[in-house]
Symmetry: C2
Subunit: 632 residues, 2 copies
Amino acid sequence: MQFFLDGFRAGDPDVKPEAVRPTSDSDVVDVLVIGHGPAGALIAAQLSEFPGITTRLLERRETPMIQGQADGVNCRSIEMLNAFGLADRLNREGCFVNETAFWGANAAGTGIVRTGRVRDAEDGISEYRHVLLNQARLHEYLAEKMGNSPTRLQPEFGMEVIDLKLPDNPADLSQPDSVVVRQLNLPGQPETVIKAKYVIGCDGARSTVREALGLKLIGVPQFHGWGVLDVLATTDFPDIRRKVIIQAPGGGLAILPREGGYMTRLYVDLGDFEPGDNPRDRVSKDDIVAEAKRLFAPYTFEPKEIPWWSIYEVWQRVTERFDDVPDAERGKRSPRVFTAGDACHTHSAKIGGGMNLSMQDTFNLGWKLAAVLEGRSPVSLLDTYNDERMPLAHEFIEFDKVWAPMVDGKAPDGTAFSTEQLRNRFQEVEHYTAGVATHYPAALLVGKDTHQRLANGFTVGMRFHSAEVTRLADALRLHLGHTHEADGRWRLYAFGDAAPITSDSSRLRALCEWLVDSPDSPIRRYTAAGADIDAVFDVRGILQQSHNELEPEDLPSLLLPIKGSLGLNDYEKAFTRGVNDGDKDIFDVREIDRSQGALVIVRPDQYVANILPLDAYKELSDFFAGFMIPVK
Amino acid sequence: MQFFLDGFRAGDPDVKPEAVRPTSDSDVVDVLVIGHGPAGALIAAQLSEFPGITTRLLERRETPMIQGQADGVNCRSIEMLNAFGLADRLNREGCFVNETAFWGANAAGTGIVRTGRVRDAEDGISEYRHVLLNQARLHEYLAEKMGNSPTRLQPEFGMEVIDLKLPDNPADLSQPDSVVVRQLNLPGQPETVIKAKYVIGCDGARSTVREALGLKLIGVPQFHGWGVLDVLATTDFPDIRRKVIIQAPGGGLAILPREGGYMTRLYVDLGDFEPGDNPRDRVSKDDIVAEAKRLFAPYTFEPKEIPWWSIYEVWQRVTERFDDVPDAERGKRSPRVFTAGDACHTHSAKIGGGMNLSMQDTFNLGWKLAAVLEGRSPVSLLDTYNDERMPLAHEFIEFDKVWAPMVDGKAPDGTAFSTEQLRNRFQEVEHYTAGVATHYPAALLVGKDTHQRLANGFTVGMRFHSAEVTRLADALRLHLGHTHEADGRWRLYAFGDAAPITSDSSRLRALCEWLVDSPDSPIRRYTAAGADIDAVFDVRGILQQSHNELEPEDLPSLLLPIKGSLGLNDYEKAFTRGVNDGDKDIFDVREIDRSQGALVIVRPDQYVANILPLDAYKELSDFFAGFMIPVK
């Protein structure tokens, strides 16, 4: 953590100084977020960090949710939450998934038998592991983060959205969206209208926002039900503290171990049903428990407390578009309203797609909204949200359609699919379930893979996969990716070439000097006068030398910048190669070209936007010119 | 973290359920802690976890301290703070010391030059690193911990202790100590008298509690002053983000990098002074800055903000005894009043002795007080506080007397001591500065080293040095020592013998069965009826097999116990060998006898009390009989 740049402050550094802001009508805001689920809480937490942006977060529930629903936080989500300062806490409180066990029918068909176990997630996929934790706790973490932000944002409960109206001319940003709201806890009060430049509907599968846009979730119902239990139970089932997929005789069961060491989440297969015969209407908690007991045989299973249970129906659906722009207007105007999470796509629970994908939706959108609202990018940047996220939702559905039946024991061709086959396939699809398979194609915000080979361990269009380095100034060993905060800034990781940084032939040094001096440099073009040099682009240099061969004075000024109101040096910009597993340095494990070095450009949402040679000044300049507005 | 044993609870699991307690006169308590420094805050935080014990914590300052004073948290302290659930937070917010650099006079004697760097602390000394953090933040962490405890303890500020009186017959526990208190923020109010079974004076070098006992800090003043600055500065000194010891021409300077990445703590040598000419009376902040600038030459040093500064005089002192029992009464009655931290010993700042040693004092005392107040041990247990801690304070002073002059460039014989010599010596003394050199001799609470060779990596009388294991039930890789919470319980780490746990010849199985069944078992003798089987003794088994060769059902019941009001299984008692650096398992790195196994008995303050063969039932029984009271 870095703090005290503008002088010492007593107390918790996670509590940011409150921004002094002009008083304004709270019913006129920049961004109105509807729904305090994972998607809404995440984007509200991100936007709350920008003192110049006004945000409100409304939730229909009259009190914060305390339990139930999603509970799986995948590796990728934890990488992202680390940028919010929440990973340590999540890892301390949550339950790690370490192994997944597979069970199938025994030879006699009378019960279940273990067919194998695999490490989950496989080492090396991420520096984080999958974590299981009550979704409500994530809401609480994010709400605390908002409350500690410079804008001291607080979610508002009991606020039901009745209607949403776009302005007559949505292309005219001076005309706001209008959202009609009823306060559920003040029944006598008239409805109020909140005016917002942008509205984000994170209000779930029955989204009022989506419906107001005239959009539907589209997909064929599967007529297949699952019972879900959060349960404190005794059992002699040996893998109860592992993630387990059971293809029992006559039914499926999935187990997730939960936080605290005693609780378990069960998914109990309730089988196919006829339209009109939804298990929601006829299956009780006791029925689910009875079915679970049957599926656990020959093992015992005795619930002692069931804090939460539910029945859900698998329905893989995606809406027509993730924003308010009809096809006819696409490209002519940019969006004013967005949907995210369950409001625009739903999946089976088998791939951890719900909560994780939802948070990734709004992490994709948050920095774009901030860039537009702060005047750093044109409104056309907002078109990329739908462009990037909608295909991904479809891709997930396709994956889910193949994967979910396999978990239930059915191959795509309808034949039986054994747990052995499932186990083998499980590791192949692990990048999906870990959330690290997302690959944005080349477009406005993602370069072509022309220079991919300079850094093969970072894939253009995929998330920045962190590795360890050693910080030059203090020899700290740390994960390079952990320097990335959810602050809307771009990261330029400049991996040094073979020439020492002190040499005139060093391309890394030349790049740093160009970035400071050239009128074509993105830093000079897009950073406001008077702002810190890293206010928009956070450049970090990773050198091939060891930290004992270099001094801070050897660095170009960009890698030891003077910042803040006191004019202090930031010593956290330069790194040396570090040591990863097996004495490999970051150049080894991420396959950086040691001769030429590489510039890895990372978006504010941690995706690799481009990989360029260190001296590709024009390409660098042109890339950002595509979607940024020069300062005056 | 383990939670939900008695059922699901919403919200932050660090906030424990508030205990229902009989209303009582708040001026009559079990323990009165005087002083909200590290020593006082730590013991208050520990005692607050016991619903049956009433505690108050008084602080003279009218508001919480916000900065200054100590800032070094050594490896051992972090191991301890992890037992309070605070290590992750401390490591996230604090600044790691990674290397110490040594600088001496250059050849021309005109300025300073680096003579070397060492890794600090050396890898393997502890799983934690030294951390630097404003002492006030530690107070805040501990105050939050108390506030979240079952007793919701809050420190009380502006409470000045005027006097302390022992009862007429201190051996009679029905007679309380009387502490006269004035509320500084209520000037008109009369003084109040608080009655307490035990009083702990953590009220600093000018301790009212110590003085009320008629005791003094004894030691020869060194007439040597140091200026201390917390400073945000610019400098071209290359090691400003490392710990640095500088023997400059004509003076000494020490640097500690601080939390947040911009602040630095400087210790500036103000040299010897004549009695009566204390630099406190004549040296200004500007003088200290000017001297620092001189010592940094040829490097620049420009302070931009100095949030805190002070001048201190080195004075190595220890009081006559750490409790109220005069020599003549020693052994005849047990103590009623204790002093801890600076109230009973002071050191130079060079060894990180102040805050760290102070917290270790009260961590030593806290569990003993809880055991006595809860009726598990006789009052004679309290004699061991003075017995164990006072010799250690003297040992530290002796170490300090030799070490501190070396840092200033003087060998014990008064000759010059070069930075090269210092650097070499630094690594030899690192166990001291890391806080892991403490070695309690054999006595009531520490066994003889008869069976030391069964587990040479754990030294009887020294702190339990954690290593990694794999949890059987869920394959989690974790540090065995991190299962140890500051809850007053004893840990019995039973390392398995060569026989598989399922075999009749397994000594580990036999020990577990004996512990459950035998009337001589400490568990049966000292655990109250109806309490969980691990309420007093937390037994953990570490098996030599891999986690894939065993099932939970293979375990003896003690290692898969049924607990809590719901009767749930605790799956966190059994571990397998794990993998440490270089594929070594815990049996390798801690040198456990693989043929016989070993029982490592660890005190509630994390010190190894004894090492016994797994079948040494009588020795095990006798050891605890020495200081515990059987339940009726």
